[in-house]
Symmetry: C2
């Protein structure tokens, strides 16, 4: 028996989230079908991170046990030939039998993309939120640094969260904007790295930074919103399509 | 009666090309349906440039005549509210009654996108061709400059072309590559501006430059391929999904 680690990239548009659900298209369900077909038995996967419907990933992680004799780094090819093009295994390797994808995580990085063009371009629709107002990137970065460090993120998580401990560490948070090419559309990227994230946390931080970019919240108010521990003090939850789970880093095999 | 000019951006994935065809989804057909609904009569559009199934545009141009009293620059809003999100009118204005979108064109600019990552990412699939080999961008640019100027492009057009005159002027052709972000995937952009393009010309030039990038064609061979006036001497026609019609520039109202 070998334990195989899969790093997967997917376009979440067509899926009801990453986690398996009966009768619904999910990333995990699609991977499980392919693996069950390959190994002629019912394969169970364990995922590192639940992503909501419409959320994308460059590197979500799944682990499974198998008796298949395929060399571990060749699994990606075997699986990719049977996957639809909106899911790709980008890395496959063997990990120790006690490896769990939700343990020994050093940090996770997400990106949230916003397009502030006057008219939303068709190419951006799947992959960014649209804000019809030019955002002040400098003000957004002034606000962003106030999130860095250890904080109670109760104001920045959905009331639906099941987690009791709302303290997380943000290692890095910054905002960049590409130069507009054909029209005034910019790709504004909010990049965030932390030791863990609460339900909807990145989308609420992005929604709050967008309000700062519009001038509706002042950068200095971020500290007050954090201390308030009250979800109603922060900005709105931006839609799922702008969110990308970029990378999950693990102890041992990550530099 | 007013003549209205529409600059349109579209994701060509779901359409059987730009030009209207009975019973098939097309960009022109979709626009014509919306305009006919708005004006309660059968509206005919004249397009500037035919794009094939799967080809995208940031700025293809359509013109139509109307008795509607909507201010010309407001047409874009009226139309966009009724269009699917994969087509957007980005500019609308009144033009003289004798304006024709295929006349008085100064030049057109296209972009062709290639991803040379080891594994194609799901986000690139609709918008670039995938080449599983690292391309030599410097060699591609050495080849690109040899296309600039007035040439007979018989070697670089589909044998299906109906045009007899194959002489065109290329004003600019260059190749850039973005830095890879999460994996080794780069966005390689072939940007080309000319006074006119033959059938499949950009896709064949892109296919030939990709062969140069792989080392299969030497940059200096471009001049021989041009002189040969023989389609079989050039590289393959790359797929439609990497192609974007960026902009059409007109006399009079373009700087």
């Amino acid at each position: 028996m070998k334990r195989i680690f899969l790093r997967t990239a997917y376009d979440g548009t067509a899926y009801c989230g990453s986690q398996i659900q009966p009768e619904l298209p999910t990333v995990e369900g699609t991977l499980a079908n392919v693996l069950s077909e390959l190994s002629d038995e019912n394969v169970l996967l364990t995922g590192a991170s639940r992503t909501d419907a419409g959320v994308h990933a460059y590197g979500n992680v799944y682990v499974f046990d198998t008796k298949l004799s395929i060399p571990p780094d060749r699994f990606k090819y075997a699986i990719n030939t049977k996957l639809p093009p909106d899911i790709r295994v980008v890395e496959s390797m063997e990990v120790p039998a006690d490896f769990h994808p939700r343990h020994s995580v050093i940090n996770k990085t997400y990106e949230y993309h916003i397009d502030d063009g006057f008219i939303e371009l068709p190419f951006k629709e799947r992959y960014s939120a649209h804000v019809r107002q030019k955002l002040d990137i400098e003000a957004m970065n002034e606000a962003a640094v106030l999130f860095i460090g250890e904080h109670d993120f109760t104001s920045f998580c959905s009331a639906k969260t099941e987690k009791e401990d709302h303290v997380r560490i943000i290692y890095n948070l910054n905002v960049t904007a590409s130069s507009p090419s054909v029209y005034d559309n910019r790709d504004i990227v909010i990049s965030i790295t932390g030791n863990g994230f609460l339900y909807n946390m990145v989308r609420i931080i992005a929604g709050t930074l967008a309000e700062v970019g519009k001038g509706k919240i002042k950068p200095a108010e971020i500290s007050e919103i954090l201390s308030a521990r009250d979800r109603t003090k922060a900005g709105p939850t931006l839609p799922p399509n702008g969110l990308f789970l970029l990378k999950i880093r693990y102890e041992d095999f990550e530099k």
